[in-house]
């Protein structure tokens, strides 16, 4: 193990490096740490917002930097780790900054903070970050950087008292205005849904009828299945004909918030497929990129564990192809045992790559399905809008 002090650096003997940030709060009810990686050019700027890898965008577009673990328990504290494959980075990227941001208050609220760069097959390089007098709310913990053809790691521990916003601006990331303190506006309350526990005929959520509710069931809801299906260009259903020409590939995913406040995402990108039997009790079936799985993409929610979930935001994003939602003619169908399916058609045009389709909310033990169908450029804007990051931080308090 190589220990660095502030300012120090060490060479990395492999281009595959796992970066782990571990921390412990001084007060168990205190602030959490969000860890991000910024892919930077020689000018120390990102090329685009895609170069910021964090909870809302868990891997770089070339897959070279990926979130591996997100704030998982690590003994008395927590850790977040990234897998980096430095030789897969674009040649214009010459450093990767590893940044820690506290939700509120300075980094000195942390009892322990360290960043480790572990090259594949050799000694890790460790920097124990001094926190006691750190006034910064966003700290550049360390950086991986290319020097004379060799990747190295530097212990930085410099940052910004103002937190993530000035830090991101420093790196050339465009920050949206903070989300309004209220949740995303939902359409006015619809008339009450038909009585629960009877077999609902198929319900289609539209602008005019944007939500439906199912009352609490003592035995839980069984297996809730969510299907995403869409039409290929030329009217060919995906799964019957292969991907050709201007075909687009949609990926199904969701953000979830557990009743204990834990927040996360389930999606194929980043290989966070979830788990049906354990938290988050949501699992994505194999990614239908090849067309082998007929009927589009499937996700399951363990309805017997519904009490462990507070809300689930189901979304789709265009993994491949030009965003053209109108011609994709996508539809989400949610199947609940003993009830009719709930359907949300994606019938509005947009050229943005991501669509928040429906939010499933735990309503005093019941299930409320709300149509969203709102389009976003990418994960960060959507998680911001639906306040998953804020809930995430607050949820750990």
């Amino acid at each position: 193990m190589v220990n660095l002090t502030k300012g120090g650096n060490a060479p990395l003997s492999s281009n595959k490096v796992q970066v782990t940030v571990a921390w412990q709060d001084r007060n168990p009810n205190a602030e959490e740490l969000d860890v991000s990686c910024f892919l930077l050019t020689d000018a120390k700027k990102v090329r685009s917002d895609n170069d910021m890898i964090f909870y809302g965008q868990r891997q770089s577009s070339d897959g070279s930097v990926r979130v591996k673990d997100l704030a998982i328990s690590d003994g008395s504290g927590r850790k977040t780790s990234f897998v980096t494959e430095l030789d897969k980075l674009g040649s214009d990227i010459t450093s990767v900054a590893v940044v820690g941001t506290t939700a509120a208050g300075p980094v000195s609220a942390l009892e322990r903070l360290s960043v480790t760069a572990a090259p594949d097959g050799s000694d890790p390089v460790v920097f124990d970050v001094p926190t006691s007098d750190a006034t910064e709310a966003a700290l550049i913990l360390g950086e991986l950087y290319l020097r004379n053809g060799q990747w190295k790691f530097r212990a930085v521990a410099q940052g910004f008292n103002g937190g993530l916003a000035p830090l991101a601006t420093n790196y050339g990331v465009i920050i949206d205005e903070p989300a309004s303190p209220q949740p995303a506006p939902t359409p006015p309350s619809p008339p009450p849904a038909p009585a629960p526990s009877v077999n609902l005929s198929k319900v289609t959520l539209t602008k005019d009828k944007p939500s439906v509710s199912l009352a609490k069931k003592s035995e839980g809801f069984g297996q809730i299945e969510i299907n995403l299906n869409w039409t290929q260009t030329g009217g060919k259903k995906k799964g019957i004909f292969g991907l050709k020409g201007k075909a687009i590939d949609l990926d199904l995913g969701c953000f979830f918030e557990m009743s204990n406040g834990q927040v996360g995402a389930v999606q194929a990108l980043g290989n966070t497929f979830g788990n049906y039997e354990q938290a988050p009790f949501i699992e994505l079936a194999g990614d239908d990129r090849t067309g082998a799985v007929s009927g589009g993409e499937w996700m399951r929610i363990n309805g017997s564990q519904w009490h462990n979930l507070r809300r689930v935001l189901v979304y789709a994003f265009i993994y491949e192809g030009v965003p053209n939602w109108a011609s994709a003619d996508g539809v989400i169908t949610i199947y609940i045992p003993d009830s009719g399916p709930v359907e949300v058609p994606l019938n509005e045009a947009s050229n943005l790559g991501m669509c928040a389709i429906a939010e499933i909310t735990n309503d005093n033990g019941g299930i409320k399905f709300s149509r969203e169908v709102k389009y976003f450029p990418a994960h960060p804007q959507m998680s911001e809008q639906y306040r998953y990051p804020l809930q995430w931080r607050a949820g750990r308090k």
Partner: protein, 192 residues
């Protein structure tokens, strides 16, 4: 690009660059982008006799005493933040004007108030010190402080010294605890 000498490496300036008579010691670094105290690096020169001491306090050339008695060494002035491109501080050395009893010139670089500010070279972005032939602009030698002297706060960059009728440069690269004050003590400068 100039040579990158290892610590203790010797370079015969006369042989490497026979035209070398006037040189510029350049110290450069980037302004701090993060919050916190500025990084204030200082380049200084000590004109030393054969026993390694200054002849008098006037042989210490630094931000408060910018020209040596003979005009052989000139400091261009203090830069306190690193603002600007290229060299942020320069010390010009004219070997042709050097007094006979100056045997050696020690070039040092220090971080102002490093201890109070808890700073070292590794925290500064793109800090370097180099020697450039003033007559033709060629870089003769360069140290990358950020990279190779990251945990130091003060160091003797190198020594220009007379040897068998020619000037040589010895790359010292030796870190120094105590900063500029301690260096003054070693070289016999009385500081108030």
């Amino acid at each position: 690009m100039g040579l990158s000498l290892q610590k203790g490496g010797n370079l015969s300036l006369t042989k490497t660059d026979p035209s070398l008579q006037r040189m510029v010691v350049g110290l450069g670094w980037d302004e701090r982008g993060t919050d916190g105290a500025d990084f204030d690096l200082d380049a200084s020169a000590f004109l030393l006799n054969a026993s390694g001491k200054v002849r008098g306090d006037h042989d210490f050339i630094f931000y408060n005493q910018m020209v040596s008695a003979e005009g052989s060494v000139t400091h261009t002035g203090d830069n306190r933040t690193g603002e600007g491109d290229g060299d942020d501080e320069q010390i010009k050395v004219d070997l042709t004007k050097m007094a006979e009893d100056v045997d050696k010139i020690a070039i040092t670089v220090t971080i102002h108030d490093a201890e109070q500010r808890n700073q070292n070279f590794g925290q500064v972005v793109n800090a370097f010190i180099r020697i450039v032939n003033e007559d033709n602009g060629n870089e003769v030698v360069r140290f990358d402080l950020t990279e190779d002297y990251s945990t130091e706060t003060a160091m003797v960059f190198g020594e220009l010294y007379r040897n068998a009728g020619e000037w040589k440069f010895k790359a010292v690269g030796q870190g120094y605890a105590g900063g500029l004050g301690a260096m003054c003590g070693q070289f016999g400068v009385n500081i108030g």
